[in-house]
């Protein structure tokens, strides 16, 4: 018995996320075989001899030391550099650097590229080093945890990293488990131990593990053999999570490719120009400028000039673009982490942006997939109502006998008679307690059942201080209810259950537990009471249990059914309770059969189930319980607001249909105003297809577009297909069951399903598996080209969270698995509105503005070289000083745009909540798309043309005020560079919508720094030291002292900026978008306020409230309907009502802009107030 053959050898990891052992001395092995075998050929068996390290060392099992860190001090530099140069961008810049080192090509000094490159590499390296430092720290922390290990016959404290395969470990209650373990023995009877795997899979309920029988009899020398090393299941699984990219990222990559194409075109044009010039002019100019030795033909010169131009034009996509984007996103992530309004006081958890690369996509979400339990609901179960022998308890009546509404509850029932009562339990109907007190036998039996029929573990630390550990919160709520009503479950042993019934301890003999499973949907216990009577207590789902009742209970059944329906209508979770008396002989005989079944070699489960089935029959109905699944705070409001923002919310839940629908109603996803709620429950492909077809037909019939579009569907392409139903009028909802969903998700039906579902306002999928959740998300991702967000809290949401574009984890009481898989986490569903409507919206806006400006400024900067090429023989001479080229992107223009990218706000955060429609531009991708990109590029090129040709025109004939020539190269370079810096600074000033002190500082600072560096670079001191490097000596003061130069700069600036201002002003006038309108309204309101203050001072009573001051707590529907509050254009108003698709809103926008061009258009209205 020294040698164990460990079954699977992989593992649960216990290392990083060890789970707790709750009882006894135990460890366990619950590895799943499927997960491991990826890396090496599956190990068939593993041999280890317990407590014999020498023997075990022969097998060279992995050590238990874990290592998540990537580098050590020596390997850091080479490994990190190697990794960094795997990035295409970095390699590209390295390539440019090498090009620059070739003298015939070099049009720029090597440092123009190496400075930014080194800067980028350093920043990334520092960040990687910091990350790795934290990893080292956490590795150490885990590796140095202590375990009690039996070494040489003595229990010793050993660090986790030194634990070896075959060691015997003693674990105590509430300790973390060091590795994958095999349970040898436990202090609990039958070698049981209870483990919590919350850190692994997010499930908080206890899992039971049992020692293998042969070792369990070892008595109190509790032993534990352990297996496994570093790559435990978790370590293997936690591998690389799929890297998520935002749509802006993808667009950016496409655009960068286009720009490279553009770059090559420019290069080719200029190279051809160079070849022609060298052929026509250059050859003859050789008297004064001979060709390089290596150059023997104009063609070869052109070829070289191509590469030279690639070098100088590459600044259209500078390396700083990628860095800046990351910095901005990081800033936004910090704002999310810092947001006080997303901090949960109760759980003391702030929101956390776990991925810093997705922020702007938060502003583009169109579909939200939400889990129910723990996300929409608190996963706190409250015993709310019950029906006992035909009488319903739990409704609260006020004095007049009307049902009281929530919020005006009277005093809760006083349980002080019961010293063992749980103080936190509240119940409002005193009649139930009275029924208990007068000794109503049914009521007693009811609570007796609740106190006996469960799998709850009790723990009594001090006398009377009872703690229950329940597998499911429902069960905990029921047992707690029984406890408060005087039926206190006190303790259990494997064979007995002790209950304090109205103060007297009674010990029942526990004969059997007929456990719960998903097929049976019920559980029973068989107990023998002190009088010796055997009784079966059963509780279970109504649908299952009602079929198994004795005929005599028909009448009672009807009443109870009524109650059940009533409870279900209120969104409560119901269970039916029943009992059955068994006589001794029958039980003996049944127990024998049960034993047989449990010993059966094959299909043991089925046999047991049929044995159970047999005894759970002809039961007497006792009553029903109703448990309230409490909604999270603010859920209905959040859903309403997100719906107004045209975000579609789909609930994917494992719960049953009734519960899901009820929750749908209670969180306002489903309303009574809805035209129809389609429920798809078909079991076969045909049924499901038929149901979906009917639903679509109904929607089509009611909508104006009475077309038989469905017959055409097959022929339409997938992208167009969905458009048929986009314009459906009326509000519909779809509820689909898990088994129907399985059919609906099949390849030939998925489009039909998607189309139907997308035409509905709300979609609820119930009874879905984790895999189906991911499939639904995948389906929408695949066909709708929309940004999806999945939010959930449990391990069953992980697949969905990982599949969606954005995964949000609720960091609540359950495990952290969902949070670990998520990109964002916070503790309350209601924070989602803030994450999307405020942070997401701003992130998107800022990123778009940033990108527009960034491309603009670099095109304006770079294209000047192109125009200059035509005047310098296409020789790749730069217009600017090389230092200017080096510093332009990293010093002169980087910080203002970064500040805008981090801090900009178009409307204050309250407005984004008040006007959810402000979210729409993100969904429609309006702020940065290919069109916007071309506008930016065009503006950049326009600027570059003026930037070159205005100084050209001035300088061609000009002289300085002392008579010397003005048009020397260096003066020209300084003039163009200065106008460029001023123009792009003015432009960023125009783009910045929110001038904080930081923006002021950066914008003015950048200008100041430009002039400071300019004068420093052109100073005598630097020239004296390096005459060949600082050739521009004296240039700044000579050039910038010329009035002509300043006149040129001013002229250039005005000509570059004027059209932009005029264009923006016109757009604001003729086609304002909602954010402009809101901003404008706000401005007017501010003026209004000032005016009001004046008026008050004059003495008038200013009781008239501003028409705009509506609070957002009030019903949003009202807010929208009352046009008097928001004097937007009637169309802008109408667009507040939900749309069913983006194309619909597109047409609406078109209408809106049409009407805006009429005199009574939209823009004027906001100001009438």
């Amino acid at each position: 018995m020294d040698t164990f053959r460990a079954v699977p050898l992989f593992s649960i990891s216990g290392l990083f996320f060890p789970y707790r052992v709750s009882h006894g001395i135990a460890g366990t092995l619950l590895g799943e075989m499927a997960l491991c075998a990826k890396k090496r050929p599956p190990e068939e068996e593993r041999r280890a001899r317990a407590n014999d390290r020498e023997y075990n060392e022969k097998f060279q099992y992995a050590s238990n030391c874990i290592k998540t860190s990537k580098y050590n001090i020596l390997t850091f530099l080479p490994v990190n550099l190697f990794e960094q140069f795997q990035e295409v961008a970095n390699t590209y810049f390295l390539f440019l650097l090498i090009l620059q080192l070739i003298p015939q090509i070099s049009s720029l000094s090597w440092f123009t590229t190496i400075v930014p490159l080194v800067l980028v590499l350093t920043i990334t390296a520092v960040k990687d080093a910091t990350d790795d430092y934290f990893r080292h720290k956490s590795d150490n922390q885990v590796n140095n945890r202590q375990s009690q290990v039996l070494i040489n016959g003595i229990l010793q404290q050993e660090q986790w990293m030194n634990v070896c395969v075959g060691d015997i470990i003693k674990l105590e209650n509430n300790q973390f488990v060091a590795a994958d373990l095999l349970l040898l023995s436990s202090s609990e009877p039958h070698g049981l131990c209870y483990i919590e795997t919350a850190e692994l899979d997010g499930e908080t309920n206890m899992k039971v593990r049992q020692a293998i029988p042969v070792t369990s009899e070892l008595g109190d020398i509790s032993k534990l053999a352990k297996f496994d090393g570093p790559d435990t299941k978790l370590m293997q699984n936690s591998g690389r999570t799929k890297f998520k990219r935002t749509s802006i990222d993808r667009l950016m990559n496409t655009l960068v490719l286009w720009i490279f194409g553009f770059l090559v075109c420019m290069g080719v044009i200029l190279a051809i120009g160079n070849a022609i010039w060298e052929h026509e002019v250059g050859t003859r100019f050789q008297v004064y400028l001979p060709w390089d030795e290596a150059v023997d033909s104009a063609f070869f010169s052109g070829f070289l000039s191509f590469w030279s131009y690639i070098i100088i034009l590459n600044t259209v996509v500078p390396i700083s673009l990628y860095v800046s984007v990351e910095v901005i996103r990081l800033g936004h992530s910090y704002f999310i982490n810092w947001d006080k309004k997303m901090f949960c006081m109760k759980k003391r958890t702030p929101a956390e942006a776990r991925t810093t690369t997705l922020n702007e996509e938060l502003g583009q979400v169109e579909y939200i997939f939400s889990d129910k339990t723990g996300t929409l609901t608190q996963n706190i179960m409250v015993f709310n109502k019950c029906s006992i022998y035909g009488r319903s308890y739990g409704d609260v009546f006020d004095v007049l006998g009307h049902k009281a509404e929530l919020g005006e509850k009277p005093e809760p029932v006083d349980f002080s008679f019961n010293p063992l009562a749980d103080k936190k339990f509240l119940f409002w109907d005193p009649s139930l307690l009275e029924a208990v007190k007068i000794g109503d036998p049914h009521t007693h039996e009811f609570f007796r059942l609740l106190s006996l029929c469960h799998t709850v573990m009790s723990e009594e630390k001090n006398e009377g201080e009872l703690y229950y550990k329940a597998q499911s919160p429902d069960e905990g709520a029921l047992v707690t209810a029984a406890r408060n009503f005087g039926f206190v479950f006190r303790s259990r042993t494997p064979k007995t259950i002790t209950v304090h019934e109205m103060g007297t301890a009674i010990t029942y003999q526990l004969l059997a537990i007929l456990d719960f499973n998903n097929i049976r949907k019920r559980m029973s216990v068989i107990v023998r009471n002190p009088e010796g009577k055997i009784r079966l207590y059963c509780k279970g789902a109504d649908t299952i249990l009602l079929d198994r009742l004795h005929h005599s209970t028909q009448e009672l059944l009807n009443t109870t059914m009524d109650h059940l329906n009533e409870y279900a209508g209120e969104g409560l979770r119901t269970l039916v309770l029943a009992y059955r008396d068994l006589d001794e002989e029958y039980y003996e005989e049944w127990a024998e059969r049960r034993l047989q079944a449990s010993l059966a070699q094959d299909s043991r489960e089925d046999r047991l189930a049929s044995v159970y089935e047999e005894v759970e029959n002809n039961m007497m109905l006792l009553g029903a319980t109703a448990i309230e699944d409490k909604l999270q705070q603010g859920v209905p409001e959040t859903i309403a607001l997100l719906t107004l923002a045209n975000i579609k919310i789909w609930v994917l839940t494992g719960d049953k249909q009734e519960t899901a629908v009820n929750i749908g109603y209670s969180c306002k996803m489903l309303t009574d105003d809805m035209t129809e709620v389609f429920i798809v429950t078909g079991h076969t492909v045909l049924e499901v297809r038929e149901e979906l077809r009917k639903a679509r037909e109904k929607m089509m019939d009611s909508s104006r577009s009475v077309g038989n579009g469905f017959t055409y569907q097959e022929t339409l392409s997938s992208s167009k297909l969905t458009s048929v139903l986009e314009a459906v009028a009326g509000e519909y909802a779809l509820v689909i069951n898990g088994h129907s969903l399985a059919h609906a998700l099949e390849a030939d039906m998925e489009l039909e399903f998607l189309e139907t579902a997308c035409a509905c306002k709300a979609v609820i999928c119930c009874r879905v598996t984790p895999l189906q959740k991911a499939q639904v998300v995948e389906l929408v991702k695949k066909y709708k080209k929309a940004v999806t967000l999945a939010i959930g809290d449990g391990a069953n949401d992980v697949s969905m969270i990982k599949t969606a574009h954005i995964g949000v984890g609720i960091s609540g009481q359950e495990g952290i698995q969902a949070v670990l898989a998520s990109d964002y986490s916070f503790s309350q569903f209601k924070f989602l509105q803030r994450l999307l409507l405020v942070h997401g919206r701003w992130s998107y806006l800022r990123m778009c503005k940033f990108l527009c400006y960034f491309f603009y400024k670099n095109f304006a900067f770079t294209m000047v070289h192109f125009w200059f090429g035509f005047f310098c023989g296409f020789s790749a001479q730069t217009v600017y000083d090389q230092y200017f080229i080096t510093l332009y992107n990293i010093v002169y223009t980087s910080l203002p745009v970064l500040a805008m990218g981090v801090f900009d706000q178009d409307v204050p955060e309250q407005r984004s909540m008040e006007y959810p429609k402000l979210y729409e531009p993100g969904q429609l991708n309006l702020l940065f798309n290919k069109r916007e990109f071309f506008i930016c590029i065009a503006q950049g090129i326009y600027t570059s043309v003026l930037m070159f040709f205005i100084p050209y025109g001035v300088f061609a004939e000009a002289t300085r005020d002392d008579g010397t020539q003005l048009a020397d190269y260096q003066s020209f370079a300084v003039t163009v560079a200065t106008s460029l810096v001023i123009v792009v600074s003015v432009q960023i000033g125009l783009d910045t919508g929110y001038w904080t002190a930081i923006n002021h500082f950066f914008i003015w600072g950048s200008l100041a720094v430009y002039f400071a560096i300019l004068f420093a670079m052109h100073s005598n001191g630097l020239f004296d030291m390096f005459p060949n490097q600082f050739r521009f000596v004296g240039n700044a003061q000579n050039t910038l002292a010329q009035p002509t130069v300043w006149l040129t700069i001013v002229l250039t600036t005005v000509v570059c900026i004027m059209p932009v201002v005029a264009f923006r002003f016109l757009r604001l006038n003729l086609k304002p978008d909602l954010s402009d309108t809101v901003r404008y309204t706000q401005l007017v309101r501010k003026k209004q306020k000032a005016q009001h203050r004046c008026m008050r001072r004059v003495g008038r009573t200013g009781s008239r409230r501003s028409g705009y001051a509506f609070s957002h707590q009030e019903g949003f529907g009202e807010l929208i309907m009352s046009g008097k509050n928001m004097r937007l254009s009637s169309l802008a108003l109408s667009s507040f009502t939900t749309r069913s698709s983006s194309s619909w809103i597109e047409s609406l926008r078109r209408k809106k802009s049409d009407s805006a061009s009429s005199p009574s258009g939209s823009a004027d209205k906001p100001l009438k107030g």
Binding site: V281, K340, Q877, F903, D968, N999, A1163
Partner: protein, 325 residues
């Protein structure tokens, strides 16, 4: 460059029996910065701000333009100090290989660079095994025609006009950027071991008779070394100083220009020009700037009017709102 901070999450705080109950306060600070509530100026392009700007630009630019235009047109060739320029066209002083073909250390008088010029000067770095001073294509191609101006008086005897050859270069160039190599009084001695540029007729230390205008600090040379930005350019050649307020600098009459032709330009279709000009506060004659200002000012003004009309037409009620609220 994705930033994922998973490592931190793996660190579990606190004792193992208290999951989640971290003691440290994680509540975000309530500062204006962290809560994104920094006070800020939020400018909006309203009619009230944009339109006046257009009109103001118009009102400022048009007068400036007219002023520049008038000043520029009033420049006469014969009043005040007259500046004499030579102009070259189709001459690519801005070609990349030309621009870099110089050694500023050498020109700054660095002794080692004098004898070992920078590689950038190739192929005008060495000649007959001697370093060229000044090296490079720019120096080698220095303009070396001589221009002399004579006034043909009444007695038809040509009277030479005094052409001043100093004061035509920037002060920083003459005093900082260009320096002769160190050494004794004899300039030739200081340039010992070097040879003249290939195209030059005489070595650099024989450019002028005056010591402070000879060698690298010869102003004709300095002016040439300040390369032009565009292929058609003019460079200051000489100054004709006004003698008294009573007489014009160049009185009306017939003039005779004597050119000693050394500098060939026909190889590359070049042109030479001689320009005489006076200057004003804004330099020489420059019609472009004045016209551009007048044009831009007018456009701005017109745009202002157009925008005003549009604004009135489509937002007439907004103005009333501005006033009444």
């Amino acid at each position: 460059m994705a930033m994922n901070y998973n490592a931190k999450d793996e660190v579990d705080g606190g004792p193992p029996c208290a999951p989640g109950g971290t003691a440290k306060t994680r509540r975000p600070d309530n500062t204006a910065f962290k809560q994104q509530r920094l006070p800020a100026w939020q400018p909006i392009l309203t009619a009230g701000t944009v339109l006046p700007i257009f009109f103001i630009i118009g009102l400022i630019f048009i007068p400036i333009g007219i002023g520049i235009f008038v000043t520029s047109n009033n420049i006469r060739e014969i009043e005040g100090n007259v500046f004499m320029y030579y102009g070259l066209s189709n001459f690519y002083q801005n070609h990349r290989r030309y621009v870099k073909s110089r050694d500023d250390s050498q020109l700054n008088g660095d002794a080692s660079a004098l004898l070992n010029p920078s590689k950038e000067c190739e192929p005008y770095r060495r000649n007959e095994d001697k370093p060229i001073a000044p090296c490079g294509a720019i120096a080698n191609s220095m303009f070396n025609d001589t221009l002399e101006l004579f006034l043909i008086g009444n007695d038809s005897y040509p009277m030479p006009i005094a052409l001043k050859k100093k004061g035509i270069a920037w002060w920083t160039d003459k005093n900082v950027k260009f320096r002769n190599p160190p050494g004794g009084d004899n300039l030739e001695e200081r340039f010992k071991g070097t040879t003249k540029p290939v195209n030059w007729l005489k070595p650099v230390y024989m450019l002028d008779s005056e010591a402070d205008n000879n060698g690298f600090i010869n102003e004709d040379f300095i002016v040439w070394m300040r390369t032009a930005a565009l292929p058609t350019f003019r460079k200051l050649y000489r100054l004709i100083e006004r003698k008294s307020d009573l007489h014009p600098t160049l009185p009306a009459g017939r003039y005779y220009l004597n050119i000693t032709y050394n500098y060939p330009v026909h190889y590359f279709d070049g042109r030479k020009r001689m320009i005489l000009s006076t200057i004003s506060w804004m330099g020489g004659k420059n019609p472009f700037l004045g016209i551009a200002y007048i044009a831009v000012g007018s456009i701005s003004f017109l745009l202002g009017i157009v925008l005003l009309v549009i604004n009135h037409k489509y937002r007439n009620s907004s103005n009333t709102a501005d006033i009444t609220i």
